[in-house]
Symmetry: C2
Subunit: 605 residues, 2 copies
């Protein structure tokens, strides 16, 4: 494997390469590639310069000049931009590649649209596969048609088993060139656990890498407290005011338009403020396979920004220079100038992001929407296929919700009832605590199906294998069967929601057999499934097949009664530390606001 194919930063700074660049610029060597007749957008000055030529050698830009400045040699590839606009390769500064489709499948679609650098989280991989898993994932990202960089997992988790990254693991990762920062850690978790996160922040600052932030909903003093710890960015603002406050705090503010949320239409109002946007970026924060296959990637998001009213020059910088600057990589990516990677996209004009040709690290990788350099398929090590470490098969009775004591709750009017904290979905993602009086038999609490009070369980598959916690959920609205998945956010949990315990056990055991995946079942029959045999995170199918299976799963769960627009997203976020207010993991119910565990019996802590 040639690390340098993917490298950005010091590893990509070989003296021999730089010497060739110098000699190409001086005209002593012919360029490997020349782009001619370009209307070049200069991100640094904001100018568009007609009749530009760009000389490339050794994967980087050697020189930018005028018409005819770079006579081709016999080996030089000449690209005629035909007086169309040339912009730098697009950068997705924050996404999550470790979910569903493999990087190779993802890139089959993503790379054709002009995205030449992707920065991905590794937070899904660390709980699922540990340091070795992260390293394997990074190996799958290497040597691709575009540059994929990653952040080390910060691991804000409601589970104490998954909380934080070990110092030695972090040091090993920070020493790598492809790790360019520390990933997102939710502000509330950070402020609740400053010892854990400040240690990681200090290590990251020592390594001169960026500390990515996640300040969803924070404002005023809380946002300042979090920012003061040294965080560089936030990709969570959902409207103009939140963007403005982050920009004022000196944060690289990432407007998000992707699979989890689409905030651009609200955020676009920032253009009326006439403030400097040099620290505003545009990211996907993850995109579903369906969306990618149907709609494309960063080129589509950039187009939306322009359509929503951003000045095209600002918008292009939001996915190029500004992002590069956030990561301290503007000497390498984000602009078309000497020494930068030769990442360029030809588009009709600044208002129409329809890439006709994409150059990545000096190679033409796509023309007219067709990828000419295929993504590399990674050969996963056998260990990747063993990630569900349940010690035994799960039984229906494992999902019993038991009171600590029986006699605390005397019968009332003939019914033995107890006040229970229920996790109520008030949107597809946000929950709140709801107190519900529920029937009990002895120490056992039962579902209240009539009132849509179902069971939800988190079963740990790796960090404390077999640990299991069950509680109640309202608002999911499953009328039959069970729905289970690996990839539960911020944990190594399988999360399962069920109308009955037998189906819950069936679904979890099926996931054990598959060694990861998503299962919908009823009457102990599989209705839909998506095997994720690699770390419980990746399918081995094509991205089109993954998209179809994901659609089918969501359709099936909705046919069983679920009301969420994206039930799989709703399910997997139930363990997430970032979303208010009540969450569940293998250790219990957690109040996200305080980070503290709550008993499911209301009135007890």
């Amino acid at each position: 494997m040639h690390r340098e194919e993917n490298g950005v930063g010091s590893d990509g700074f070989f003296a021999a390469d730089r010497r060739r660049l110098m000699e190409t610029a001086l005209g002593k060597q012919a360029p490997d590639l020349v782009v001619e007749n370009a209307s070049l957008f200069n991100v640094y000055t904001g100018e568009i310069r007609r009749n530009s030529s760009i000389a490339v050698s050794s994967r980087r830009i050697a020189c930018v000049g005028g018409k005819g400045d770079f006579p081709p040699g016999p080996e030089t590839r000449v690209v005629d931009a035909d007086h169309q606009t040339v912009i730098p390769g697009l950068i997705d500064g924050h996404t999550h590649l470790a979910w569903l489709a493999t990087p190779c499948e993802f890139l089959g679609y993503a790379a054709r649209g002009g995205t030449t650098t992707i920065v991905t989280e590794t937070m899904e991989m660390y709980p699922a596969g540990g340091l070795e898993g992260v390293i394997e994932f990074l190996a799958a990202l290497e040597n691709q048609p575009v540059k994929i960089l990653a952040t080390a997992p910060a691991m804000a988790s409601i589970s104490r088993n998954a909380l934080g990254i070990s110092d030695s693991d972090l040091q090993q990762l920070l020493a790598r060139e492809d790790i360019i920062g520390l990933g997102e850690a939710y502000w509330q978790t950070v402020l609740q656990n400053p010892d854990i996160f400040l240690a990681a922040y200090e290590r990251t600052a020592e390594a001169k890498k960026s500390i990515e932030g996640h300040s969803a909903g924070a404002r005023g003093r809380k946002l300042a407290a979090y920012t003061a710890l040294g965080i560089s960015s936030c990709h969570e603002p959902i409207n103009r005011d939140q963007v403005l406050e982050r920009l004022r705090n000196g944060i690289y503010t990432m407007a998000r338009e992707g699979g989890v949320r689409s905030d651009l239409s609200e955020i676009a109002a920032i253009t009326e403020q006439k403030v400097d946007l040099r620290r505003l970026c545009l990211v996907s924060d993850g995109i579903t396979p369906e969306d990618l296959v149907s709609n494309g990637y960063m080129e589509t998001i950039l187009q939306k920004a322009i359509d929503q009213g951003f000045d095209p020059k600002d918008a292009v910088r939001m996915v190029t220079l500004n992002v590069a600057e956030n990561f301290g990589l503007s000497g390498h990516i984000g602009g078309i100038a000497p020494g930068r990677y030769a990442d360029m996209v030809i588009i009709p004009d600044m208002k129409n992001i329809q890439p006709s040709l994409v150059i990545s690290s000096g190679r033409v990788i796509a023309e007219n929407g067709v990828l000419s350099v295929p993504p590399r398929q990674h050969r996963w090590r056998p260990q990747a296929r063993t990630s569900v470490h349940l010690p035994a098969r799960v039984r229906a009775s494992d999902f019993d919700v038991l009171l600590d004591r029986d006699n605390d709750h005397p019968p009332d009017n003939g019914r033995a009832r107890v006040n229970v904290r229920v996790l109520e979905l008030i949107t597809d993602l946000v929950t709140k605590e709801r107190v519900v009086a529920m029937d009990k038999k002895g120490k056992v609490l039962s579902r209240d199906r009539e009132n849509d009070v179902l069971k939800v369980s988190a079963v740990d598959r790796r960090l404390s294998p077999g640990s299991l916690f069950s509680g109640f959920i309202k608002g999911f609205n499953l009328k039959k069967g069970a729905f289970a998945a690996t990839g539960a956010w911020d944990t190594s949990n399988i999360v399962v929601v069920g109308e009955n315990d037998r189906d819950m056990a069936f679904a979890v055991n099926r996931i054990k057999d598959l060694q990861g995946g998503v299962v919908v079942c009823s009457d102990e029959t599989i209705l839909a499934e998506l095997p994720l045999p690699l770390f419980g995170l990746f399918s081995e199918d094509s991205i089109e097949a993954v998209a179809e299976k994901r659609k089918k799963i969501n359709r099936t769960v909705r046919e069983l009664g679920a009301v969420s627009a994206d039930p799989l997203l709703t399910l997997t976020t139930l363990t997430g530390a970032a979303i208010p207010y009540l969450r569940i993991c293998e250790q219990g119910l957690v109040d996200v606001k305080t980070g503290g565990f709550l008993s499911f019996e209301y009135g007890r802590l």
Copy 2:
């Protein structure tokens, strides 16, 4: 010594400090200092926000809020900005502190005007004192009222003895937190010696520190070739077009207004171009003691930029955020936002840079032009006082200019003459080669006083002690005596110009006795001198006394006939690799364009 007092970067990133910052922002601890009633200039958004308050703790900014947001505790210092404008502390992103006045003396004037961070070269110190000298210099910069950061010496030198920095010395320096980059290396020298400089550039990139540039006069392909090697900045453009070309190349472009050159009035035309100025900076590149004492420092330069037509918001960012970004330090300096050092300046309004109060790292260091925190006097180690290692006293005959052979030059019309390359000053700094027919006696060539052809010699004092080369100079116009100095640029040379050899020897020997300094003499009598006993670079006098002595030296040399406006600058630059075209060092005459040595006999190489 408390390193943290001066530190910027990871060393200043102590978890305990950050925790206090967080708690201050959250209101759990009272701030150490609060600035109230500020019209705050936000460098990130370009807004000015009235009635702002800023809470400071642990040397950094905890939170920025509105009126009354930060109730003071019993220990809190409250600064009432009285509705004046508050801007970030100014940064000089490129200067040369290792010359004439000690850092302590320099800061006595420089710190009062609002400059809170200074980035200095160490290139003068390395040839004069080696790695130990640089380390001693860095020690003198520590723990001052303002932050002084430095670049490692890159050592573009015409002398092979002084060319380049050893890899082990560079690594030691790059490991230090106060070394934030590699200093300037002139583009011609770099392109002539790519092996030497690419190795240093690679080390610097590995350390994730900036590579400062010096592309004086370069354009087109040559500028691109140099930029492609990874350089980050250039402080050498002298007009609008040079600025524009550098900005287009993605270079942080530093407009210079200081002791060596004042380019602002030419450069200000860039404001008519309506290009983005986010990569334009404003630096001094060194300032004379006279100028500092009389006119001030960065506050004066900033005022000039505004007076020359720069939008005040752009101009302030040219000495704050833009400079911080060049060095990857914008999380620490250059803006008023949480987590940044509390460096703030109160001025009447954005058009009037008259600082009434200066806060540096959370301390009020100056009020109404009076410094309230005195700079720290460094105790120099005894070794600092031994830097002129001439093995013996110099004799007049050591300055003989000898032809290799006598018989090449038969007498012509009774006079034995030979064509000689003479270093002709065509401005106070720029020289060119001039070929002059000169008389010889045997192998000895003599001055042609009538035609102002005098002798110039470079005598090495450290790297090859006692090595000496003599040639001829025209345009200095000394009618009597000799003028000698340590601190000859880019070398460990003493440089001396003389009307006669005895005075040249006298001046050099006087410098040996002083262990460094500047001497003007005639008839073996000292007319003016400025002892520089510390490394041959620093006086122990007050900066006012240094300014007076420097003025007297220049006046005296001009009384002896010299025509330069600043003869000391003219003298010390004669060894400099950066200034065209013909230069001299202890190894011979050098053609700066090629880097090659030239015989003083024209027609020989």
